[in-house]
């Protein structure tokens, strides 16, 4: 059947199961936007292309499906770059479709021409420049496969305007891509791993984002319980193992729980499940878990021995490797080890501000804790980057995966609101909270009007300390409190919300927080709550740059 290129785009997208796309039209993608009207796909008009990219990302993280964003050429495409890099660093399956000038003008500096495939080459898993309509079907088919297979990631398709209007035969193609999968781990390696696990007296599981991507929650639980091994998570691994479980240690790393970091440093065996030993979780690699053997289960062979030397690498999808490994294991008991960790935990509990007597001040920890209690820990939570992100990770305790949506690897400010809107499209019946800082929120707050236009039921909690808090904290600790460019004037967020037609409230006292949260939950549609929190509170514990994981700065005990 003869079709226009633009129609082929939508034929392929609908066959990939796409029912919502986030985007922004412009000169070089008008034929695609014209053809869209004939297909059952909902389009969400972002207010900035970066917002569209984060929405697609949030949608993908909440749904496990491929998120799609589309923009025009030139600046439309370059505005995606931060969003693409964010998805790349966190392995999020996304497809970005950009318009491009007609193929005969390429290289001639035509209006709104930018070398988008060149710019995005290092921040995509793969990208394509499509010059003619007949390449479209195969390219789109392949792009979706690449985005979601193996270690997922963003794929960009740059489509020349002439390819959008050319007519050609449309046949939905077979996937021609070469299968590329690591061979199953040989028995000798599995045996060696099983041997180390059997011998271990002080094992710890390091659970990463891979556990969620792989859908290995069940196997992880079986492994942890059968071998009685405590589980600590990376920032992006939170939710793979229930926080309420007695074996859960919470988050590890720079702002991880001190008992989790102590357990890692004193372990004799680390079981790294779908994580990559990022510098935020290891501290200085030389001093990292010095007494531990390391078993690394990881789908991407390029991550093996990249940051930390491991003893047994098992390359493959976590779920299937664990399925191979579990039958080789007996039941173990690490009572003594668990006792030791419990003692460290008692110490961290005593320093936890949540357990302290109310001093009348409003701390971020209280706010996040109140949101957690009100929502029963079951909401989808998105964040920006900085102090509020770490507090959210520490106090919004998750029992389920795909609910914690945060920019980990890239650390992108402004991610929270748009990703929440995207996530809402994947989970319309669930509660969605964007917990954002006053800095990050101001980067993408124009998306409030997108939320209104779409009726997106997103609750925004702005933790306003009138500082760029994390930078301020570093300046306090490491730059002799010389505050440089961190004082931040903010608009009246309540009025800002109201200007968008969004109900809003400001909370300045601890005793008002829970009630305001309840009000927001009962109010239909988007709501903004601004919490005026302590200006100079810091995130604890903190592993300073250049220190070992156990050398944490702890919250000072109250006099």
């Amino acid at each position: 059947m003869k079709m226009r290129g633009a129609e082929i785009v939508w034929e392929c997208l609908t066959r990939e199961g796409v029912d919502v796309v986030f985007g922004y039209p412009g000169g070089a993608n008008m034929p695609i936007y014209d053809a869209m009207l004939n297909y059952p796909v909902h389009h969400v008009l972002a207010r900035h292309e970066q917002g569209a990219a984060h929405m697609a990302d949030g949608y993908a993280r909440a749904s496990g499906k491929v998120g799609v964003a589309m923009t025009t050429s030139g600046p439309g495409a370059t505005n995606l770059v931060t969003g693409i890099a964010t998805a790349m660093m966190d392995s999020i399956p996304t497809v970005f479709i950009t318009g491009q000038v007609p193929s005969h003008l390429i290289g001639g500096d035509a209006f709104q021409e930018v070398d988008v495939t060149g710019i995005t080459l290092p921040i995509t898993k793969h990208n394509y420049l499509v010059m003619h309509a007949e390449e479209l079907a195969e390219t789109i088919r392949e792009a979706f496969h690449v985005a979601r297979s193996g270690r997922p990631g963003p794929v960009l398709i740059d489509i020349c305007k002439n390819a959008q209007v050319e007519m050609c035969d449309f046949v939905y193609p077979e996937l021609k891509l070469r299968e590329r999968q690591s061979a199953p781990s040989p028995r000798v390696l599995l045996d060696e791993a099983a041997h180390l696990i059997e011998k271990a007296k002080r094992p710890v599981i390091l659970c990463g984002h891979g556990a969620i991507i792989s859908g290995a929650e069940e196997e992880l639980m079986k492994f942890a319980v059968q071998t009685q091994t405590p589980v600590t998570s990376t920032l992006l691994g939170l939710g793979a193992f229930p926080a309420s479980h007695e074996l859960s240690l919470g988050m590890m790393g720079m702002h991880g729980e001190s008992h989790a970091n102590m357990a890692i440093q004193n372990a004799d065996l680390l079981l790294a499940f779908g994580m990559r030993f990022d510098d935020r979780v290891t501290g200085v690699p030389k001093t990292y878990a010095p007494g531990a053997k390391k078993i690394h289960i990881e789908i991407d062979p390029a991550e093996v021995n990249k940051n930390v030397r491991v003893d047994v690498p098992l390359v493959g999808d976590l779920k299937s490797v664990l399925r191979d490994l579990l039958p080789l294991l007996g039941e173990y008991d690490h009572e003594e080890w668990k006792q030791e960790i419990a003692a460290w935990k008692a110490e961290s509990d005593s320093r936890n501000i949540i357990n302290w007597e109310d001093d009348g001040k409003l701390y971020a920890a209280h706010v996040v804790n109140d949101i957690w209690e009100a929502t029963g820990g079951a909401a989808l939570v998105t964040t920006d980057v900085g102090q509020h992100q770490m507090w959210s990770a520490q106090y919004y305790l998750l029992d389920k995966p795909n609910r914690w949506i945060t920019s980990g690897g890239a650390g992108t400010m402004g991610f929270g609101l748009p990703s929440a809107i995207g996530a809402w499209f994947a989970a319309k019946n669930e509660e969605v909270w964007a917990i954002v800082g006053d800095g990050g929120f101001q980067m993408t707050s124009p998306e409030l009007t997108t939320a209104v236009q779409e009726g997106a039921n997103v609750k925004v909690a702005v933790l306003n300390n009138r500082f760029l808090g994390m930078v301020r904290q570093w300046q306090e600790f490491f730059f002799e409190k010389r505050y440089s460019a961190v004082n931040m004037l903010t608009p009246d967020f309540v009025k800002l919300a109201e200007a968008h037609g969004i109900p809003a409230r400001r909370v300045t006292k601890r005793e008002d927080a829970a009630e305001a949260i309840e009000w927001a939950r009962k109010t239909e549609g988007p709501v903004v709550l601004e919490f005026s929190i302590e200006m100079e509170d810091a995130v604890y514990p903190m592993v300073p740059a250049g220190a070992a994981l156990h050398e944490m700065l702890q919250r000072p005990m109250k006099a």
């Binding site: 495939t117 060149g118 080459l121 290092p122 898993k125 793969h126 420049l129 690449v146 891509l177 070469r178 590329r180 999968q181 690591s182 061979a183 199953p184 040989p186 000798v188 390696l189 060696e192 180390l196 053997k293 991407d300 062979p301 390029a302 093996v304 021995n305 990249k306 003893d311 047994v312 390359v315």
Partner: protein
Amino acid sequence: MNYIFVVLVENKPGVLNRVASLFRRRNFNIESLVVGRTEDPAVSRMTIVAECPNGEAAAHRIEANLYKLINVIDVQDVTHQPSVTRDLALIKVRVGPERRAEVNGLAEIFRAHIVDVAADSVVVEITGTEDKIESIIELLRPIGALEVARTGKIAMTRGQNDGVRRLPGMNGNQYDEMMMEMAEMTP
């Protein structure tokens, strides 16, 4: 030390850029990179000589990262395998008729060819290992000013030998005996 990789890639526009960009982004240093067509028009063959400061670990990283490129079909490390490596150089020597015979003599010793003779210069074509080419350049230098064009190294393993593949499964290959031995030695 320098490692030599033989990399088969899809013969498509932009693939060389992807490979070169990967080396830049990951901070691997390329000594030389040669690319050309193969017996199969859909496949190009690259010989990449790369600096691997910490040896095997760096070689593993390079190999694993190359496979992350969708257009890469196969990667072999031929550094330690019996193989033939060749470089080709064209060397123009500014020399008049009076010392041309000297150049000719050297060319004969090195089994090089004189491929152009002009009034004030000759062009010598030589293929061989890097050492051999370096030697003739050094010997020609005193005779007259030089202009040198070199291709960089191409490599092919001898006989039935394949290069080392550290990532079983990536192109359908399995764990071979050497890998198994390494695996047994690991802990």
